[in-house]
C-alpha cells in the first residue's frame, strides 16, 4: 500500500469515527425535536453531555488531516462549496452552545429555544453530510485547471437530497439505538419503536439509493465487482442491517447500537472503495478529478503525519474508550446537568 492510499484509508477511518460517534449525537438531536416532555429532553442532553465534544473532534481532525494530507481537496472543495460550509458551521455552532446553554436559565421559553437550536443544529448537518456525499458521487464541476465553484442551490439536486434523507434516517436509527441503550422503562420502549421505524426507512432508502446511484454514477461500479473488499464490506453491511431488528427484539440495545455502527462503518467503507483512487470526481471530465495523487502533500509530509497518526490515534481511542466506560449505564436526569 502506498502512502497516498494509507492516507485515504486514514481519512476514511476518521470520517467513519466521526459518523459513528457524532452520528449518534446528531440522531439524538433530531429525536430531540420529537421528545414528549422536558424530562425526556433533559435525558437526551445528559446522554451526550460528557461525550459530544470529544465526538465532534473527529470532524475537526478529519478537516485538519485533509488539510495536511490532501491540501488541494481542502482548498478547492471547501471554497467551491462556500455557502454550504457556512451553513454547516452555523448549525454546528448552535448545536454546541445549545447543549451548554439549555439548563442555565430556569425558564420554559428559554429551554424551548435551545431545544430547537439543538434539534435543527443536528438536523441540518445530518442532512448536509448526506447531500455532500451525494454530490461527490455525482461529481463536482471541476474544471481542467482544477478550479471549482458550485452555486449552493445546485447542490440540492434530487439525487443528493435523497442521500441526505438517507443519512438523516441512518443517524436517527443510530441515535435512537444509543438512547435506548442508556434508558429504561417506557422511554426505552418508545425509543425502541423509533429505532425499528428508522431501521425500516433505512432499509427502504438503502435500496432506492443503491439503484439511483447505479444510474447516476455508473462509473463507480466499474472494476470493483471483482474486489474481495467489496464483498467483505457488503457482508458486514448486510449482517449489521439484519442484526438490528434481531437485537431490538431481544432488548439488547447496546448490540443494536453496535450493529447500527457496523452498518455506518461499512457504508462509509463502500463509499470510499468505489471512489478510490479518486477523492472528488469531476462531473465535467473524469480526467479533471481530484485524486489521492494529484491533490496530496509531499511524501515527506505524508510520512511525518502518518507516524503522528499511528502514535496519536491509538492513544485517543484508548482514553476515549475509558471515558465511555465511566459514563456507561442508565441516565438519571438531574436538573443542572452536572
Amino acid at each position: 500500500m502506498d502512502l497516498n492510499t494509507a492516507w485515504f484509508l486514514l481519512i476514511g477511518v476518521l470520517l467513519t469515527g466521526y459518523a459513528i460517534l457524532d452520528g449518534f449525537d446528531l440522531g439524538v438531536g433530531v429525536l430531540h425535536l420529537f421528545a414528549r416532555d422536558d424530562q425526556q429532553r433533559r435525558i437526551h442532553m445528559q446522554a451526550i453531555g460528557p461525550v459530544w465534544d470529544g465526538n465532534e473532534v473527529w470532524l475537526l481532525t478529519g478537516g485538519g488531516a485533509m488539510f495536511a494530507a490532501f491540501p488541494l481537496v481542502y482548498a478547492r472543495v471547501f471554497s467551491g462549496l462556500y455557502l454550504a460550509f457556512m451553513l454547516l458551521l452555523v448549525a454546528l455552532i448552535f448545536r454546541a452552545v445549545s447543549i451548554e446553554f439549555r439548563e442555565q436559565v430556569d425558564d420554559a421559553r428559554w429551554r424551548r429555544f435551545w431545544d430547537w437550536a439543538f434539534g435543527l443544529g443536528s438536523l441540518v448537518p445530518a442532512i448536509l453530510y448526506g447531500v455532500a456525499i451525494g454530490n461527490v458521487v455525482r461529481g463536482l464541476p471541476i474544471e481542467a485547471d482544477g478550479t471549482l465553484n458550485v452555486y449552493f442551490l445546485a447542490l440540492l439536486n434530487p439525487y443528493s437530497l435523497l442521500v441526505g434523507v438517507f443519512a438523516l434516517v441512518m443517524f436517527v436509527m443510530h441515535g435512537a439505538a444509543y438512547l435506548a441503550a442508556r434508558t429504561d422503562g417506557e422511554l426505552q420502549q418508545r425509543l425502541a419503536r423509533w429505532t425499528t421505524g428508522a431501521w425500516m426507512a433505512f432499509v427502504a432508502l438503502y435500496l432506492v439509493v443503491t439503484v439511483a446511484t447505479f444510474f447516476t454514477a455508473p462509473y463507480l461500479f466499474e472494476g470493483i465487482l471483482g474486489n474481495p473488499l467489496l464483498w467483505i464490506l457488503g457482508v458486514v453491511l448486510l449482517g449489521s442491517i439484519v442484526y438490528v431488528p434481531v437485537a431490538i427484539n431481544g432488548k439488547a440495545f447496546t448490540r443494536t447500537f453496535l450493529a447500527s455502527a457496523g452498518a455506518i462503518a461499512s457504508l462509509v467503507g463502500l463509499f470510499g472503495l468505489s471512489l478510490y483512487p479518486r477523492m472528488v470526481p469531476s462531473s465535467i471530465d473524469l480526467a479533471n478529478s481530484l485524486t489521492i495523487y494529484n491533490a496530496s502533500s509531499t511524501p515527506r509530509t505524508l510520512t511525518v503525519m502518518l507516524v503522528v497518526a499511528l502514535i496519536g490515534m491509538p492513544l485517543v481511542i484508548a482514553y476515549t474508550a475509558y471515558v465511555y466506560t465511566v459514563f456507561m449505564g442508565k441516565i438519571v436526569a438531574t436538573k443542572d446537568g452536572y
Partner: protein, 447 residues
Amino acid sequence: MELDPLFLSRLQFALTVGFHFLFPPLTIGLAWLLVLIEWLGWRRNDEDYVRAGIFFGKILGLTFAMGVATGIVMEFQFGTNWAEYSRFVGDIFGAPLAMEAIFAFFMESTFLGLFLFGRNKVSKAVHWFSILMVAVGATLSAFWIIVANSWQQTPAGFAVRNGRAELADFWAAVFNPSTTARFLHTMSATVIAGAFLMAGVSAYLLLKDNGKAVGSKTLKISLIVGLIASVAALFPTGHHHAQQVAVTQPEKLAAMEGLIHGQEGAPLTVIGIPSEEPPELNYAIGVPGLLSWIAFGDADAYVDGIEDLRQQGHPTPPFVITFLSFHLMVGLGSFFIALTGLGVFLLVTRRIDNSRLFLRLLIWSIPLPLVACQLGWIVAEVGRQPWVVYRLLKTSHAFSQNVAAGEVLFSIVMFGLVYLMLGVLYLFILVKKIKQGPQPLVVKEAP
C-alpha cells in the same frame, strides 16, 4: 460601491479569529489554576477548594464550549476563504492543525467531560488527572496553533517547488525562529487572563459576602499566580520575543517601536503620536539607546527604521495600528504587574479583605488581559502585512478566487449576528453563574 472580496475575507478572518481568541486564553489559564486548586482540594481534603473547583469548573465549561463553537469555524476557514493560501502552504501548514486535533483537542474535550461530569464517578486521583489533562491538552493546542502561525511569521524548513512551499525539514518548520519565543509569551498571557478572571470573581465573592471562605482562598492563589505571569509576560518572555522580532522581522519591530529612521543608539519610545504615509511619529518621548540594547544587547547597535527597510525594497506594515496596538499592550502589561503586585502586598500585610476599592478594581480589570491578548495578536498579524507568509506570499494573493464577494459579505453578516448573540449570552450566563456563587457540597451516594 464595488465589493472587494480580499477586504471582506480579511474582515471575516479578523472577526472570527478575534472573537474565538477571547475564549482559549481564559480556558488555558483557568485550567492550570484549577489544576492547582483541585490538587489542594484533594491532597488537603479542603472543602473550600473542592467548592472552588466546582464553581470555577462550571465557568471553565461554559468558556470552553464557546471556544469549541467558534473554533470549528477556524478549522475550515482556511479552505473556504483562503484557498490559494491553503494550496500554497498545505504541505506544511496543515500538519500542525492536524497535530493539534490529534494531540490536543481530543485530550481536552474528552477529559473535560470527565472533569465536569465525573466528579462522583471516578477516584479523586483520576479526577485530578482529568483536569491536568485538560490543561495539558489546552496548552498543546496553543503550541500547535502557534507553530502554524509562527511559520507564517518566520517560515523555515521548506523549499518552494511546484508553485508551493514543500516541507524540507519537519523540526526546522516546527521550531522555526519565532515558535518558542511566541509560545512562551502567549502562555504567560493566558495565565494572566485566567488569573484576572479568577481574581475578579473572587473579589466579587468577598465584596458580596457570598462564599467568602472560597473567595479568599482563590483570590490569594490567583493574585500570586497573576503576579508571576504578569512579570513573566514582560521578562523574560516579552523581552525574548522582542529580540527575536528584531532579528527575524525588522519591519514589524520598526513599526511597533515607532522607529522611522534607522539609527545607532535607537531610543525606546514610551509614548508618541503616530501618523501614516509618510510614517511619522510626533511628540515622542523615549529612552535613548534602550531599543538598541533591547533588540541587540548593545546600546549603540544600529536598528533599521521603516524608511531604511523601504529603501532596501521591503514593504512595511500599517504603521499606526501596529504602533498603537503594541504600546497599548505594553501599557496594559505594566498595569497588570502593578495591580497584582499591589494585590500581593495587600495579601501579605493582611489588608486585602478591607480594601474594597482594590477589590472593585479587580472586578473591572477582568476583561483587560483579553484586550491585551487581542492587541498582541493585532501586532503579530498586522505587523506581518502585507505578507500572509513573511516574504513569501502576499495576503492579496491568498484568498479564495472562486468565492464571490457577495457570498463573503453574507457570511460576515451571519457570523456577526451569531457572534453578537453568543457574546451577549455568554456574558449573561457568566454573570449569572458568578452571582450564584460557590454552592455548598452535597454528599452524593455513589451510584
